[in-house]
Amino acid sequence: MKMQYQKQANIKKKEISEIERLSEGLEDYIVLQDGHIVTKKVSSAFDDLMILTYDEALQSYPALFNELVNVKHPSSDAYQYNFDECNSGLLLYLPKKKRISKPLHIFYVATTEEFTHNTFLYLEQESELNYFEHLFSDAVGSYSYVSNAIVHEAANLTYGALSNLGKDVASYVYRNASVDRYGISKYSLADVGDAIQLMYQTINLNGEYASGTSKTIAITSGVQEARYETLLEHNALYSEGYIEHYGVANNESALIFEGIGQINKGMKQSIARQQNHGIVLGEKARLDANPLLLIDEYDVIASHGAAIGKIDDDELYYLMSRGLTEKAAQRLIINGFLSPVMSLLETDTLKNMFLKRVEEKTL
């Protein structure tokens, strides 16, 4: 791995004020800019969590770092490429039986033209972490973000993400989790950015009774193109995987969801479920959901469905018949549709930011 760190650039005024605004009311958060921690406001609840940039980890804990990053990576060239080329890295290591239920917010800021970031989350047995990441950038450039989570036996990872990348960004986001016996990983990903977006999520259920959930919410507008792929692979008996996609496509944008539940041979009594919901707002917008079940075993429970269409005329009429303008009625329906993510946004600031972006994008 060649770590090409930038000298700590002067963080731009505009970005500082944006982070200050977004972090308002958050108790625990970290700002990582171009691979450097520039703000760390973390309470003692996180004392057990090791928080290190790759830079620091290599210098202070080379043995641990090498041990951790040498665990089997998901067999993805993209992942490997990102890991080799990263110019920003963050390691979060939680020892055995340490449980932290408070969420930790991380703001990833890129001021460089190329941002290649890598986050490593390592949860030892029976530990618990609630992680929430914010991806945003107004820069012109390419943004590549990878996170890899190792969830050991009976550990519990709650992973939230809010991404808001500008229209001049081409972004590639890859998130992976490997889950051991009785481990749980629960991803909730919301994207309200304008970037050309490719997002992949894989959860490998490697131990019996491992459970994985991936929920994605995305809104596209303008001429934006975005594609979200979710793969839940069952490599163990009694494993459970859930995929949910929610999308709104406005204007002439194209939004594609690919969801794959894969149950390999012999992984009996596994559960694979998938749901896709979509609202097509723009006359020329495209929203495709392609749910797929790849199942090589009989003794399983599996289901998938897709409900995609325009806003129901009768629903709109019903709301308007009580005095709501068409715009207000539409807003209420869309916000309602997106409500599964609202509960994840802890502070009013984040909720308002989300709603404002939704409004801007669905106008």
Binding site: Y318, L319, M320, T325, L332, I333, G336, F337
Partner: protein
């Protein structure tokens, strides 16, 4: 005091005329009831007054206090004081009952003004209690998974909150058990005042045991064919509609005979042309 005037109203859907000259005047303080067999245009009349986009008015007028209702959008009509308790209200997932009504109430205020949250909650809770609905109603999604009776009660709850000047209640009694009918009836009656004009669409006299009606109208073939007082309703309850049809020389009271039935009729004398249809 509000007055709703419907004058020679004709309306069609997908090119088929359903309302064929409806005349009706409802004044504040009055309660009217419209009866009539299935498929005679009662719900269509209600939808056209509210402004459902599916229907096109081809002739006639609707005036609310002299203002041209037909020029108003659906939401403007509501804010002007019209209310329609629907026969089959929609389910709207993700939108809670209380958010919905709060937004609707705020829409009635000046731009930028909001109803006080405290006042709203108090009023809403009281309405929930009055209608004997479950306490978690405010947080449940609008009509989602509601039973037929719950949906109807929710319509009345919305009416209570929005305080319209003209309210049309389309089969508010269908799907209600005896107890619920009593609750709904009493709540509507409690709302009666000299400023509220009510139009009840119903098939049964039993609703009028709880909500007294001053005028009773019968609709057939897309228009009001007979009007009277409560004794008309009592006669229909006993004898049905045949005597009215006979009196007026109506064969088929429906607005139009369904296509399938026409096909069956054609099928019995299946000629090549008929099959080509």
């Amino acid at each position: 005091m509000a007055t709703l005037k419907i004058i020679n109203l004709h309306a069609e859907v997908e090119g088929i005329e359903i309302l064929r000259g409806v005349d009706l005047e409802i004044k504040g303080g009055q309660t009217h009831a419209i009866m009539g067999p299935n498929g005679t245009g009662k719900s269509t009349l209600a939808s056209v007054v509210m402004g459902h986009p599916k229907y096109t008015v081809t002739e006639g007028e609707i005036l609310l206090d002299g203002k041209n209702v037909l020029e108003m959008s659906v939401d403007e009509r509501s804010r002007a004081g019209l209310f329609l308790g629907m026969q089959a209200p929609s389910e709207v997932p993700g939108v809670t009952n209380s958010d919905f009504i709060k937004t609707a109430m705020n829409a009635r205020l000046e731009e930028g003004k909001n109803i006080s949250l405290f006042k709203f909650i108090r009023e809403y809770d009281r309405a929930v209690e009055d209608l004997k609905m479950s306490e978690d109603l405010p947080h449940r999604y609008l009509n989602q998974g509601f039973s037929g009776g719950e949906k109807k009660r929710n319509e009345i709850l919305q009416m209570k909150m929005l305080k319209p000047s003209i309210a049309i209640l389309d089969e508010i009694d269908s799907g209600l058990d005896v107890d619920a009918l009593k609750i709904v009836g009493e709540n509507v009656t409690a709302m009666k005042n000299k400023d509220l004009g009510l139009l009840l669409i119903t098939h049964y006299q039993r609703l009028l045991e709880y909500i007294e009606a001053d005028f009773v109208h019968v609709m057939m073939k897309g228009k009001i064919v007979k009007s009277g007082d409560i004794s008309l309703m009592k006669k229909i309850d006993q004898d049905g509609y045949d005597w009215i049809k006979e009196e007026l020389g109506i064969d088929d009271e429906r607005v139009f005979v369904k296509e399938e039935e026409q096909k069956v009729m054609l099928g019995t004398c299946a000629t090549k042309e008929a099959l080509d249809l």
